[in-house]
């Protein structure tokens, strides 16, 4: 069965909840870099619980790619959730 790529590119923002530790952001951006996707915005904040951070990453890609990226992000051990 053919992989039907949705070729329409648009800005996607991933909301990622992570354990607040050094190196987690590095792993996150690697998921994008590995596929040569340019990140247009990154925002990191500690949450009320200082052991947890919220990361927002925005990049341009197809819906199909966004789904793949989300799954790859969730594989990172320190990632609690990704939307």
């Amino acid at each position: 069965m053919k992989l039907e790529l949705n070729k329409k590119y648009m800005k996607k923002t991933f909301t990622i909840i992570v354990e607040n530790q050094p190196g987690v952001l590095y792993r996150l951006v690697n998921v994008f870099y590995k596929r040569k996707i340019n990140i247009s915005a990154v925002h990191v904040d500690e949450t009320k619980d200082s052991s947890i951070s919220k990361v927002l990453i925005t990049a341009e890609m197809s819906e199909d790619m966004a789904q793949k990226i989300a799954k790859q992000i969730y594989k990172i051990i320190e990632v609690i959730s990704v939307k």
């Binding site: 069965m1 799954k71 969730y74």
Partner: protein
Amino acid sequence: MKITGSQAVIESLLKEKVKVIFGYPGGANMPIYDALYNYKKKMRHVLVRHEQGATHAAEGYARVTGKAGVCFATSGPGATNLITGIADAMMDSVPMVCITGQVASHLIGTDAFQETDVIGITAPITKWNYQITKAEEIPQVFAKAFFIAQNGRPGPVVIDITKDAQFKIFDFKYPKNYQIKKLMLPTPSEKAVKQAALMINEAKKPFMIIGHGALISKASQTLIKISEKSGVPMAVTLHGIGAVSSQHKNYVGMVGMHGHYSPNILTNQADVIIAVGMRFDDRVTSTIATYAPHAKIIHIDIDASEINKNIKSYLGIVGDANTVLKKIFAYVKKNNHRDWLNEFKKLKIHAKKIVDKQPKRPGITQQEVISMISDKTHGEAIIVADVGQNQMFSARFYQYKNPNSYITSGGLGTMGFALPASMGAKIAAPKTPVIAVIGDGGFQMTIQELGTIFQEKLPIKILILNNEYLGMVRQWQELFFEKRYSFTHLVNPDFIAISKGYGIPAKLVTEKNKLEKAIDNFLNTGGPTLLEVKVEKENNIFPMIPSGAAVDEIRIE
């Protein structure tokens, strides 16, 4: 108990039931090695000759036992020498825990002697990594590392420990039953399982492709039960070899670039493909646009990110292959697909006729050597293959009967893998014959491990298939680059003298009529032994799917 960080490292390994470490000492892990000195009776340590050898040996050990292989290396060059093996383990889902020494924490970031950013370098090629700067972190981090390496889709983990943390005394307490919820196995939904069974039951031309995940989840018996009940033909990927016996009546061979003729051709006629623990690698699918155009794909994998990554599946089921298959089995109806299976047989006969017509070669061919070894070991040895033609010949012409008996570097394709990996395999399976099948090119990439084999007296059988070429690259140059053999010819040293220099008895065979006696001798010699076979220089491995072609455009010659 009050102990040093270094002792805690060894105690943690003992808690994880580690039996062997492959490693190399240096400045930044000397305290750990000093601690290890007192554990000589409880823990085996194999001193490799290069850290890359440690990683492949750990992979060989892990591939046979299913447990994480363990490596030690020092900081800087020690750690960077691990990279190839870590990347290899990542690609092939091999559980591995590498423990690297690091400069003292106050020196980190100062470009200190033998300092490298190991965590930064290994992040893209590890499942997880962590730098320990305080001894108190050791028990928790080790428990976490082993859990991560061995659960879910297995993979490599790196723990970097600063030298000061290795010296510090603290109160050691190892966590019990450490778990990470996220990596616990998802339960497949009953609805998906029923749908999969229904698809199998209604299929006219169902086809099962079995990958490495089936071996990792020990699904062999369930696969056979499903196939025997439903009549579904079974094919394997390179890493799925051995999951089901090649002698089974429903076994149709290997798919992929150098796989068998019939399963590749008929992939494109199948109406339902059941993909078990495999990831539709480009060497399996060739051009995706022309892959399996008539098939609805049921994709079973433990890694959710593999579903729809390369090939869109009709039904994706995330879970442990054996668990999922057992559930599917309950709903599979008794059936046989005699006509469909016969199509595989007909194509197999067709391919054989063409091959048989080819003129006989005067010299020894790689396939003759592998076939002979297969017959004489009754398909029951562990074959550790390197990369290139030797790898494909040993995948195709050895008749594997047992799970985890074909070990090779599939994803990364690391030349030099086989010799060190065979050390780990032999330690893991001391009673099974372990044969390393290596070309003359790959042999010289990790040849120094002959020293380790000699020192450890590992009774490995080392088979060198010498064609004086980087055979696979030469084959491509012949077929696709107008025979322009650009830097693929090797002027080799005297391998027999080298082997003997390392204290390993060695024999050379160059003539066809002396091959059988040489192989008998090779297989019946105890202890480490090497056999160099001078094979046909320009022999190609066929069938072959040229890159860019469809799987059913596979060439027999």
